[in-house]
């Protein structure tokens, strides 16, 4: 057997779940392989011990990404899943995901920035987009959105076009020899005439009808 085919076989059958100590292994809710990618599921109570084990005992030295999934309206026990993508870059390199189930009532998780430094920005982005709070992260500011932004835009119940944040700026206009700030006036292309309104869709449908 060549080293290459061994590596392929290992990727197919290997699971970091097998090396977990028995009490933790019993806490793995689900183990899914899809498209050759392994995903382990656990509850929020087991997130920290599992990640500590993967970092210190199994050598997963690189946290590729922290993100989340909002399952609002789906048939799920918990609304959120926080996803950690872990990678081992040294010998027996391997990558898998840990999905942590998180309830809507208390969207809090302990931070893991002391295990991987890359968790700082990953947790900031996840907080920015989903409003999930990572307890212990010393710098949980917004990463992408403006710092005074009120909402969490990747939540399923957040409207695509926001809640009026796009109109929050003053209108900067020259008046005489100085520049003054005014309230922005009505703006027909963004209010009621956006490209995704039902009226626009109806208009396009009517215009594209054969005459």
């Amino acid at each position: 057997m060549t080293p290459e085919s061994m590596a392929v076989d290992m990727a197919d059958t290997y699971s970091p779940c097998d090396a977990l100590p028995a009490p933790l292994r019993s806490q793995v809710i689900d183990q899914i392989v899809h498209q050759g990618q392994l995903a382990l599921h656990c509850t929020s109570a087991d997130q920290r011990p599992m990640l500590e084990h993967f970092k210190t005992q199994q050598g997963y030295d690189f946290l590729v990404d922290v993100t989340a999934i909002d399952h609002l309206g789906m048939d799920r026990t918990e609304r959120f899943e926080v996803v950690y993508v872990l990678r081992r870059t040294r010998e027996n390199s391997h990558q898998f995901r840990l999905h942590v189930w998180l309830s809507e009532d208390s969207p809090n998780l302990p931070t893991v920035f002391d295990l991987w430094d890359s968790a700082r920005w990953g947790e900031r982005e996840t907080h920015d987009m989903f409003g999930i709070v990572f307890d212990g992260n010393p710098d949980l500011r917004r990463l992408l959105m403006p710092e005074d932004y009120p909402g969490f835009p990747l939540l399923k119940d957040y409207p695509l076009r926001g809640m009026g944040e796009r109109r929050q700026f003053p209108n900067v206009v020259p008046r005489g020899d100085q520049i003054v700030e005014e309230e922005p006036g009505d703006y027909p292309t963004s209010i009621g005439r956006g490209m995704h309104t039902p009226e626009y869709t109806e208009e396009v449908r009517r215009d594209s009808k054969p005459r």
């Binding site: 796009r166 700026f169 900067v172 206009v173 020259p174 020899d177 963004s190």
Partner: protein
């Protein structure tokens, strides 16, 4: 320009000074590029040798708003970028003109989402809009010709530009 306001009306001196000043202004525009997306690539092509905006007297690209009189907004402007753009506009000395280049800067383009300004003209003055996604360099040159037309018809003693 105190002298012209004293004379008033359309005297010979006033119109001649006006046309000379405007001729100078419109053939020596100093653009400030505000490129945030793919329109900026077309703008760079317009500035470079093949399309060569210097043939129309606007080749001195200034990356400081203090030294520019033509702001070219080319690209998407997000919520976070709009205060920056307003600040840059206010930092430019009078007289100044603004080109809104491309669909995104003019109306948000296809990005009708929570983070994108649906047209910068809601929050600052725009003189010329350039349609296209992104517009070709010829379109930007056409917009420059329009700006030159506007500058040429301007009266610097009209009080519009802080004079």
């Amino acid at each position: 320009m105190g002298l012209e306001s004293l004379i008033g009306g359309e005297g010979f001196l006033t119109t001649t000074v006006n046309s000379i000043v405007n001729w100078g202004r419109k053939n020596a525009l100093w653009p400030m590029p505000f490129g945030t997306a793919c329109c900026a690539i077309e703008m760079m092509a317009t500035f470079s040798g093949r399309y060569d905006i210097s043939r129309f007297g606007a080749e001195v690209v200034r990356f400081s708003p203090r030294q520019a009189d033509l702001l070219i907004v080319s690209g998407r402007i997000s919520l976070k970028m709009m205060p920056v753009l307003q600040k840059i506009y206010r930092q430019m000395p009078e007289p100044k003109w603004v080109i809104s280049m491309g669909a995104c800067a003019s109306c948000g383009g296809v990005f009708d989402t929570y983070t994108l300004i649906q047209g910068v003209d809601q929050f600052m003055p725009v003189d010329v809009y350039v349609p296209g996604c992104p517009p070709r360099p010829e379109s930007l040159l056409d917009a420059l010709a329009e700006i030159q037309k506007i500058v040429g018809e301007d009266r610097f003693d009209s009080g519009k530009h802080g004079s």
